[in-house]
Symmetry: C2
Amino acid sequence: MKSLVIDTPSSNSTIYCGNGAFAERTAALAQKKLFIVTDSNVFRLYKAHIQGAFGNAPMYILPAGEHSKNYSQLLKILSAMLSAGVTRSYTVVAFGGGVVGDIAGLAASLYMRGVNLVQIPTTLLAQVDSSVGGKTAVDFKGVKNIIGAFYQPSEVIVDPLFLRTLPRREIRCGLGEIIKYGALDAEIYKKLKNNSNALFSEEFIEGITYDCIVHKAAVVCADERDTGGRRKTLNLGHTTGHAFELYYKRKSHGEFVLIGMYYEIFIAKQLGQCDVDYAESLVKLIKKVLPSIPAYADAQKAALFAKYDKKNTRTSLISLIVPKCEGESVEITLPAERYCALIAQCAEQLDQRRK
Amino acid sequence: MKSLVIDTPSSNSTIYCGNGAFAERTAALAQKKLFIVTDSNVFRLYKAHIQGAFGNAPMYILPAGEHSKNYSQLLKILSAMLSAGVTRSYTVVAFGGGVVGDIAGLAASLYMRGVNLVQIPTTLLAQVDSSVGGKTAVDFKGVKNIIGAFYQPSEVIVDPLFLRTLPRREIRCGLGEIIKYGALDAEIYKKLKNNSNALFSEEFIEGITYDCIVHKAAVVCADERDTGGRRKTLNLGHTTGHAFELYYKRKSHGEFVLIGMYYEIFIAKQLGQCDVDYAESLVKLIKKVLPSIPAYADAQKAALFAKYDKKNTRTSLISLIVPKCEGESVEITLPAERYCALIAQCAEQLDQRRK
């Protein structure tokens, strides 16, 4: 088990990562007063682990799925905490994937203006990305993550134990974020390239997870509240990914990040912002994980949803973080119309190749 | 106009205090993109000021009153912000009393994980206490301030201009908190004692307001998130005050703080924790502001609600901050039963004196 500390202005967060992390750290947690938040899937799969580690601690079980990430479920968690008599000396344990981490984190930040929070991510996407860094949120009125808080967990327990039950699609989603880190970090990029035929292997994933967390930790230390520009780089692929996610809904977040990266790399190439060979190599990695990138017929319309991205403070302009060369990214800002036209052009090219 | 900076771990907050503060600071704000939150009373009284200072900025008007401090109004504010196209580059202006400041502050902290916040308190209570220090909240399921956040306003504009329209009862409420500061701060105590016949005068209030803010600023700097004990001292009178407020509802917060202080000073005397002459002198000040302290018949039952106070992490024990001697307070912790019995004893004594 490795550990690393994220030292942010608001507080410290320790990440414990590796085999045995769950058993070791939950033994320490057993001394505390706990309130558990999980979802129906995770509870079904890990009932024995939950009961073994947390005994009779009060618990709220969210209905599994992205649709649970709303204020109504948030209020139900807060209400359950109140009924259980949770006080400021309690710790909220978020045991599950990204949805559980985001909503339980927000509940912990709001209850009595903040109680201690421990994140135990059980999906690859949550392990490499969402559980680290203190972003919490729910969706509201069709806009993703519009109600939220920056709230650091006191610890994050990342144990590959939970990845063994994950369907291949969930691993793919996590790899979406991992490839994003590859497009930002030369070391991660090299490892991805050198293992491009073993991306789904347990061993590779365990190693690269820690590397991604190390990268994210450095970014979060430098720019906790996403104001200095550094944290914005983590949005690579996400502006377009989120727009498609809002419009098409069917796929999951990690898949949309892969698709968003593909479309944004196309834009970066068209605008001469990304080295062509490097772009080609990133696209190859993306296709190893998601072989078929959708050629959306109404991509131009879907792209309009990028206006709702929190990063875009003026709705007439769209900002994107795109890869430039190994270990370097660049922010490009373009008129919304031009952005939508380029997205449509990318979709057309995908469509023609398919024919 | 005086100004002072509260430098907390999370961010800086500047308080502008005195005649002319509103005109001067809102002129500077006019350059920014604003979203205004106010209530129906304040809007009626200050429509011209609002339109003069903020032009056509989008606005949400809360129904006036303590009952508006709930999650349903919070969601309506967030929804109005979304409809108005508010982005991260906006500033939320909370223009009103404590309810407006608490709920608008929470909305600003949650929208896109936090947009800039300016507090313009228009009641004495909000000016001397609630607008400063970053505590935001709504009530939930009958528990006060149970959902909230610590979120510093970038600036607080404290102008006595708004006190002129306040009914005497509102001034009384503010004086409740001011006397609390007197019980914590020897300088403020002296000024209160020396002006005990002029407590309601405009001139006295203007001077003492700044003194209270200076006291609070020092406390908030030392203990922003209310974890180190220092900020807890500001809770003097509030444990019992909140319990009565929950049970009896009829009066307003500042009045309950006065009543809470009276009952808690009685307990401090009974337990030999407070100098007797000093206690007498504080009680005299309290009675200058609220001549008739209620002799609650079911005080013992009402006192049970103190268990719900956020400060009480174990429900079998009640913690109180009580005055000890000039400029000094002390925390006492006693079994809930003993606490309730002492509250009942105080109510009986009040009742006998009346007969």
